[in-house]
């Protein structure tokens, strides 16, 4: 796994990880808000976060890169 992309358009409500952090498969890494609903974004696999591409309040489109792994 190289990166996590957004599965839908929405606003970033919360970022739960930071660069350098190790994450497990299934761990919640980000919270999006779309159509008045909170959408948790989970990591599909374990890995180390290289860069978080978005900040709280950012608007993302479907397919936008959210998190890049090392």
């Amino acid at each position: 796994m190289k990166e996590i992309t957004s599965s839908m358009a929405g606003t970033v409500l919360n970022v739960l990880v930071e660069a350098g952090q190790e994450v497990n498969a299934g761990q919640e890494v980000l919270m999006l808000e779309s159509m008045k609903m909170e959408i948790p974004v989970e990591s599909e696999a374990a890995g180390k976060v290289a860069e978080v591409k978005v900040s709280i309040g950012d608007f993302v489109n479907e397919g936008d890169v959210l998190i890049v792994f090392e």
Partner: protein, 447 residues
Amino acid sequence: MRKILIANRGEIALRIIKTCREMEIETVAIYSDADKDLPFVKEATYAFRIGEPPVNKSYLKTEAILEIAKRENVDGIHPGYGFLSENAVFARSVINAGIAFIGPDPETIELMGDKIVSRNTMKEAGVPVVPGSGEGTSTLEEACRLADSMGYPVMLKASGGGGGIGMVRCENEQALAKSFDSTKARAKAYFGSDEVFIEKYIENARHVEIQVFGDHHGNIVHLFERDCSIQRRHQKVVEESPSPFLSEQTKQKMYETALTAAKAVNYKNAGTIEFIVDEQENFYFLEMNTRLQVEHPVTEQVTGLDLVEWQLLAARGEKLPLQQNSIKQAGHSIEFRLYAEDPVSFMPSPGKLSKFEWKDTPGIRVDYGYASNTAVSPFYDPMIAKCIIYGQSRDEAIENALQFFEGLGIEGIKTNAPLFKEILKDEDFRKGNYSTSFLAKKAFAVN
């Protein structure tokens, strides 16, 4: 009243425009950048851009909205539902600007907006309320003690909450402990107050509400019930009138109770008293919505009345057009909220609606916010349209609805239309045998 501003968007803005047109009232629409191509913007007499798509930069910009209202010399502001409709501060600033607020008094909005205060007000007026603490809970210890005294499962709710947001069902003490802090944090984030309270959870409950209406001359009437038990995430998906489950005796008792509740707060304009009803037909006050409800067309179909017209008449100081004994309920109406979402997971599905077509036949009413080739944006709630279907009987309404959804052409994004076909074919639904847990229990497989 010759000209009003509609502080809302989508289907409800368009629905208000339609009645205004019949009453020869000019309309001023406001719209965000995301909504510039939507039907309500094109259909309003005047339309002005209010800001960027996020709600705090557009439809919640009180100052900017009031500025347009004053500049355009409107006589009234209709808030629709959601957004600023239950914001007492907004209602007050509208009135202070010399403009009529098309809704109840700001004091009533304030009183009913706080779940604990409204609950205590109703209890004092003799309206039955769900067994619960009746006061805010600040610590987990206190919450556990209260939950123990009423017995699990319980509902943990935000005092300032509404619309199904900020409430969690807790099966036991562990679950309560797990949800307590997150519910408080969410309440703070969404409603500005972290006050929470506990209520007894009622199993196999129905959600039935009574439409009420008041004028400035002390007249208050009810317009019968709506059964809104088919829900997902505590939000309504299908609503109908009459309720297929309540006995005539219980209905009459609920109408009387709703009138008592409305009179207790000297209610003016359109309002709804929501009740939760258990399997033995005991009913309890849940909350009062001090605005026009999303599902008001169901009431319009069975009474033949136009509730927006009544709102405008009441707001300009006229008496209600009909007295209680002249208001009749005839036939059966069912409303389906067509959402841009996955019909199985209920996850949002924003995007471009490439096709949205249906066959116009008698008894079919579609209140739409979007048309073919417009985009459903991720900034607002996922409702594309409300499909309201009438029949002489409930069976006829169900058959008409099935035909409607068979002929509905909707493409481009995922919608819950396939789910409606499953619901309409379900034996329990057809018998009127359902509670608020219907969708969760059935878990319809939709392809």
